[in-house]
């Protein structure tokens, strides 16, 4: 297991370099950042040239990238368009998004798995059909629609929550945004759980458990669920990374100053240090989450042994 973990950590290096270069290249392709700095006004050519020289923008792309990576490894993520260091932005944005993600994942796990298990055990009955239908609707409605509708209903019409989140983003204000963020994943989770439960319910070892004369609740909890939830855990694990990066829309709707908000600002201002810096961190989070899931998988399923 130790060797496997080490190997996986080493594999992250090329993935890290490749993905950061791609991001760097794409941001570069967006357009002229110096022009963007001046907004609608046309920049003075001399000033523009000086800024270009200061920011190494007159160098070829690969040298820009090398310089940037060098800076990153010495802890300098650059400054945002307003002169604030990107590291400072990260320190304020990541905890907020992390909290939001945790709310979303908790909601996704609790409700998604429960619905999936119940509908899987009652395949073809009323509950199963409604869950299937409901999740289909949820999957087909984009987040910006469900988000604004729920915001309007809960925050404006009924006034149960504040329609937007304050800068400190306390946990209770993140409940509704968390639900919105986790909604689509919830649908996938319950469908995946349902399929897995249905499949495993027909497995030979479940039949053995019945033949052993075990009570139904024991068959379900000890034999059926333990096996059925392995793929679900895998999905939720990888989903954590996806949710953190994918919160852009939700954070925009509820005005949450998290990772998505900063990324949006960065893209809008063509500020590559912000975009590349944040995405780099997200890539690392994603890679670590995947590694964690793979290790967890071996713990859950004794048949899997990494060497």
């Amino acid at each position: 297991m130790g060797r496997y973990t080490l190997r996986r950590l080493l594999q992250m290096i090329p993935v890290f370099i490749g993905s950061t270069f791609l991001i760097f290249f794409m941001v570069y392709a967006l357009g002229d950042p110096v022009a963007a700095l001046f907004g609608d006004k046309a920049p003075d050519p001399a000033t523009a040239a000086r800024i270009r020289k200061d920011l190494y923008l007159d160098e070829p792309l690969w040298r820009q990238y090398a310089h940037y990576m060098g800076q990153i490894f010495s802890g300098h993520f650059g400054t945002a368009f307003n002169g604030q260091p990107v590291t400072e932005l990260m320190a304020s944005a990541f905890p907020v998004t992390l909290r939001l993600t945790l709310v979303a994942v908790a909601f996704e796990m609790a409700l998604g798995v429960t619905l999936g298990v119940l509908s899987g055990l009652r395949r073809g009955r009323g509950l199963d059909t409604s869950v299937l239908l409901l999740t289909l609707v949820v999957v087909s409605v984009p987040t910006f629609v469900s988000g604004t509708v729920l915001q309007y209903l809960f925050g404006v019409s009924w006034g149960w929550t504040r329609p937007s989140v304050s800068p400190e983003a306390p946990l209770d204000e993140l409940l509704l945004p968390g639900v919105v963020l986790g909604l689509v994943s919830l649908a996938y989770t319950s469908r995946l759980t349902r399929t897995s439960v249905v499949e495993n319910a027909r497995a030979d070892y479940v039949r053995t458990a019945v033949a052993k004369g075990l009570p139904r609740h024991r068959i379900v909890t000890r034999h059926l669920l333990r096996n059925s939830l392995i793929p679900v855990v895998t999905f939720i694990g990888t989903d954590i990374g996806a949710l953190m990066g994918g919160a852009i829309v939700t954070e925009r709707i509820f005005n949450i100053h998290g990772v998505g908000y900063q990324l949006y600002q960065g893209i809008l201002r063509q500020n590559s240090p912000t975009v590349v810096g944040f995405v780099t961190i997200l890539v690392i989070v994603f890679l670590l989450a995947n590694l964690l899931v793979d290790l967890l998988y071996a713990v859950l399923d004794p048949r899997i042994r990494y060497a």
């Binding site: 070892y205 033949a211 052993k212 004369g213 000890r222 034999h223 399923d301 004794p302 048949r303």
Partner: protein
């Protein structure tokens, strides 16, 4: 007559499929007495496993459904029993050994825990005591270093060891009846005998009834007391094991026996040597000859042929076989016992092989016995011409 351990009466199971209703079991009756072994013999798809699942109460339903019959276990009908009452019987009083132990054991639980579970649930033992009993049990089925291996997972054992664990699980609460569904089919030939011996030994020791489901004729001969041969969801012949091997009273049984390759040909096989001269198919069977095979394939349970379901493949088929389904005839002691010293001439029977036309009455002396299972030692055959089948054997035995 005292209540039998297991008495299956006219059990019917059907499967609802997209293509229609398949009658997987069409009125099966068999019985096992305490401490005896019944072998249920048949090809894949003959309904032998489905029957066992219905008895055990683990039929996949839907699509499977029991449509009729009784399963009397120690005198009580399991099919009309409450679910909770039946659950208490499963595992404790009747247990099942499955064919493929790798998929039948839970892959993510240590085998010790899976064995201990029996004691925890049925006996209410503490986890610690149950674990101790589980290790004893593994010792009992001769798993080396049982105490260390109790924490291992099923995939870490060899096929033979896994099947021993399966056996241990079934034996855990010393049930009165064990149903073994092809317990050795998935194993290497060398291991098969070991596992079979272990099963037979434990069965003797605990004086349990055993229903042994198999398609392996070699396995049956040593272990079983009586044999029930199934074909297309029905029993075609039941007989004490020696009688069945010596003088099968159904063409299907005979086909099965003839399709076993033989290297030896001692005194017991002399009959089959001579038989070649008169066999309809000219089937050989050994010594470099071509191995006999029953022609054709078993019928689909969706479209069972009319009349005797075996008639399309039967060398003895007559017009009546295509029209009239043969009941289970009782094979009388005089005809069905050990081979008489001087066989009666084949002409003695009025319904001898060559002559009958459609609608010929069944041979005299035969009484249909639908529903009830035969008494121990009794024989039945679901062939209109069971007498001829026996006579033909006797004729070539002279």
């Amino acid at each position: 007559m005292t209540a039998r351990l297991l008495d299956v009466r006219d059990l019917r199971v059907e499967f609802r499929t997209r293509d229609g209703i398949a009658e997987a079991v069409g009125g099966v009756s068999y019985a096992v007495d305490a401490g005896r072994t019944l072998a249920v013999l048949g090809e894949s798809g003959s309904g032998k496993s489905v029957t066992a699942h219905a008895i055990m109460g683990i039929l996949d339903s839907p699509p499977g459904r029991i449509t009729g019959g009784q399963v009397l276990f120690q005198g009580r009908d399991l099919l009309t029993m409450g679910a909770e009452e039946r659950r208490r019987i499963r595992g404790a009083a009747m247990a099942m050994i499955f064919q493929d132990a790798l998929s039948a054991l839970n892959p993510v639980l240590p085998v010790g825990a899976q064995l201990a579970e029996m004691y925890e649930v049925h006996r209410g033992m503490s986890r610690k005591d149950a674990r101790r009993r589980a290790v004893e049990l593994m010792d009992r089925v001769r798993i080396p270093a049982a105490a260390q291996r109790a924490g291992d997972y099923p995939h870490q054992f060899s096929g033979g060891m896994r099947q021993r664990i399966m056996i241990a699980m079934a034996m855990a609460l010393e049930p009165d009846l064990i149903i073994a569904d092809e317990p050795t089919t998935a194993l290497d030939v060398t291991v098969q005998a070991q596992v079979m011996d272990l099963l037979a030994e434990l069965r003797r020791e605990y004086a349990m009834g055993l229903v042994l489901i198999t398609h392996d004729l070699g396995v049956v001969a040593d272990v079983a007391d009586t044999i029930a041969v199934m074909y297309a969801g029905r029993i075609v012949e039941t007989a004490p094991v020696r009688d069945l091997y010596r003088r099968p009273a159904h063409p299907y049984t005979r086909g099965l026996l003839d399709s076993v390759p033989r290297v030896d040909h001692g005194g017991g096989q002399a009959r089959r040597d001579h038989g070649e001269h008169v066999r309809h198919e000219g089937h050989g069977g050994h010594r470099g000859g071509k191995l006999y095979a029953i022609k054709g394939a078993p019928p689909s349970p969706l479209t069972l042929p009319p009349g005797c379901p075996f008639h399309p493949r039967c060398p003895r088929a007559q017009e009546v076989c295509r029209v009239e389904r043969p009941p289970l005839y009782e094979v009388s002691a005089a005809d069905g016992g050990p081979a008489p010293e001087a066989a009666p001439p084949s002409g003695a029977s009025p319904a001898s092989g060559a002559s009958p036309a459609a609608g010929t009455p069944p041979p005299p002396g035969a009484t249909p016995s639908p529903g009830a299972a035969p008494a121990p030692g009794g024989r039945t055959s679901a062939c209109h011409f069971w007498k001829d089948e026996l006579d033909a054997l006797d004729a070539v035995n002279v």
